[in-house]
């Protein structure tokens, strides 16, 4: 099974880049600063996280530190999952 970060990267590529793997972005790159997503895209990411990982993203968690890069998403999901256990 693909690791979490690969799953997230594939989701970003499929949903925001139409499968274009030529656009390079590093694990730490801000999605918003690099022009990959806008605020509607953030809502799309939240919908994906809640559907795919069965977590609930609270309003006060909708901050760049949780959602605005692959590294941040990865850490956030792991924290949320740890809370569930």
């Amino acid at each position: 099974m693909a690791d979490l970060k690969s799953t997230l990267r594939q989701y970003i590529i499929d949903n925001f880049l139409f499968g274009d793997t030529e656009t390079k972005f590093a694990d730490g790159d801000s999605f918003m600063d690099s022009g990959i997503v806008d605020s509607t895209g953030i809502l799309d990411i939240i919908t994906f996280l809640e559907g795919e990982f069965s977590i609930k993203v609270n309003d006060d968690e909708i901050v760049p530190d949780n959602l605005d890069s692959l590294n941040n998403l990865d850490a956030f999901i792991n924290r949320k999952k740890a809370q569930l256990n």
Partner: protein, 325 residues
Amino acid sequence: MSFSKEVIRIDAAKETDRIVGEMRRIVGRVLHKRGAVIGISGGIDSSICLALSVKAFGADKVFALAMPEADSNPESAVLARKLARHYGVRYIVENLTAALAGFQVYQRRDEAIKNVFPEFDATYKAKIVLPDDLLDKDTLNVYRLTIISPEGEEKTARIPLNEYLQIVAASNFKQRSRTNMLYYHAERLNYAVIGTGNKNEHEQGFFVKYGDGGADIKPIAHLFKTQVYQLAAQLDVPKEIQGRTPTTDTYSAECTQEEFFFRVPFEVGDAIWYGMEHNVPVAEVAAAMKMTTAQVEHVQKDIARKIRTSEYLKANPYHIATEQE
């Protein structure tokens, strides 16, 4: 010069003359139009643009419209009529409710709201808002839906993606229908359509593409909202309009522009934005605004994000470059 809230002050008389001169030049010599059509709402921006148009072209060459619909605040049309009389321009009311109902705007929007709040019906009011905690946290702009029952009970929830998109898409019919109507009158009169957006709206993307973003000339798109207010006395805008809180006048529940989009009061946001544009150190801005540096940074980040993510709204349709031989 050290930074203070006062840096945003302009010479209202001089700026008015400059804008009026440019409006005459652009409408006459560039657009080749014979006057101005303008939608007025009783808000400060359209009032200022009406006054500028009268100064530029003469009252007999300005045609003003109010375009209310079912969710409009009735006070807006009352103020619009007063304003048209005040400046002596031709004025008509084009009620858009039937046209919007024909597009099933209300039905499409309410269907999405009911997906979030099943109890919602025509007796309720609704609005969408952003979190109001920008100064405390660098939160991202994800909208929430608020409904208000006939008894005044409020409920708020985050809007799922599809419902959010449908509510916005349905509501945007309003601005686009208004632009259709403005261009009908502009074309039959051979006049130019005056866009009423200010710098805050234009640069941060608080407008509907091909809706209120559509116009021939935008005479105040370079002015901060707080600078627009500074022109009011110079242009003799009635006091009751100067004192109104800016609203969206789009949703059935009263919704200020601050809660819908800007998230901080204009006098705060504008001064911080001015500081950003002039590379004033954050600490200096924070001291002048009596805020913490973190608060200033949150506002700066929010403004920068909005400017960046609304580029597509401001763009003309993109073309594919011709392949070079």
